[in-house]
Symmetry: C2
Subunit: 242 residues, 2 copies
């Protein structure tokens, strides 16, 4: 099944342009994923050199966002896309904005990785690592879903966010207890808390991207709708009704 | 000067559509501004009833975002806008996404307003109030700049964010000291900290909207550029160079 309807364009050039911009998004996604993976590694291993690299690379992500954005505007102006082509361009517009901000969150985490944590504090870095892995696989899967415009995978990522939220809340409680027990450690623990918050936000942004994929495939805006309505949109009208 | 070039459309209907969607954005902006103002008032006065109202109203903002988004897609599909019309539609697309998220942050602040703070804790609510007023006037001014597509006002808002960031950092330091002095108060202080973070993020989003206005008026993407390059774009080629 040709989900992207690439075959139906009379203009081969238009196909090429859409394909090119789609590939740019995938490249940008790959870089953002690497940034997140590296930032988690840098925190876990206190790898300051890697953290510095992450800070430098954020520049490339920003540049990619601006480039893709411009390419989308060009496509709208020149090709006057309609129906699913237009939805694709709009889904790309929104996706890259979330990707760029995921990059910013990875950068924030990398800044925390520049701190030196002592052995006592290692325990909460482990909890951060768990949340980090959950969010990293959400990002990986949603980029994969985007590459194939796969409705079911997008929906799965959307569902994964509840687990990330639970992990985040448990971690927050743990960190607050830690601060109460050892007030001198508060500034450092606060930084870990900000990182946890960054990860939670990345989960939300992956959920956003999943919604854009559903919008593209189904032509229906599923932001702010109930869980039942979302399920009906993805799985068909018979599902999710009582 | 007709900055929005409304006069040059042959189709009066197209004019009307653009005007209508622009008005919708202004309405949405007005509601978001009210949400933020109310959430600050609710925290300051511990007004739980008002806080509850804010939570309920967030639904309307989400609905407006979806509606305007759809109207923009329709305009692109039917009218195939080019040049400054297309830039306007794109600026609207992005602006409403930031507005919706400002609404979410106001909602988060309203949740904190549901807490009961004691007299001891009133002192840091006052500091939060200062940051809140700064950010509220950024939002007010950027919506005003959007209504008139006024380059200079947009640039002013952009510059105001540095002040908000400084206030945020001072507040964060103050709250951390407070936590170290009285660890039992940590959970409550943390909530104030999250609110401060929300305000700081709202400032960033106002800055984003200012960038979209500059993009619309100047046709140049000024995200991620240096302060000098931004100044040159806004004030002309002779400015900001050494």
């Amino acid at each position: 099944m040709d989900k992207l309807n690439m075959s139906r364009h009379i203009s081969g050039k238009f196909n090429e342009e859409l394909e090119a911009v789609r590939n740019q998004v995938l490249n940008m996604g790959g870089l953002v994923e690497q940034q997140l993976r590296d930032s988690l590694y840098a925190i876990e291993k206190s790898d300051h050199e890697l953290a510095e690299k992450i800070l430098q690379r954020d520049f490339n992500i920003n540049a990619m966002e601006v480039q893709i954005d411009e390419a989308c505007v060009q496509i709208i102006a020149k090709r006057q896309p309609a129906a699913s082509d237009l939805r694709l361009v709009i889904a790309i517009f929104k996706t890259i904005s979330d990707l760029e901000r995921i990059g910013d969150e990875a950068e924030r985490i990398a800044r925390v990785a520049l701190e030196s944590f002592n052995n006592d504090q290692q325990q909460f870095l482990v909890s951060l690592e768990n949340l980090g892995q959950q969010v990293l696989s959400m990002l990986h899967n949603v980029l994969d879903a985007f590459a194939r415009m796969d409705l079911d995978s997008a929906y799965e990522v959307h569902q994964m966010d509840a687990q990330a939220d639970r992990q985040y809340e448990a971690l927050t409680r743990q960190l607050m207890t830690y601060m109460m027990e050892d007030p001198r450690g508060i500034p450092k623990v606060m930084n870990v808390l900000w990182s946890a918050r960054s990860l939670e936000r990345i989960g939300d942004r992956c959920q956003n991207i999943a919604e854009y994929i559903i919008f593209f495939v189904k032509g229906k805006d599923v932001r702010h709708v109930s869980a039942e309505s979302m399920e009906r949109t993805v799985k068909g009208p018979g599902v999710g009704k009582k």
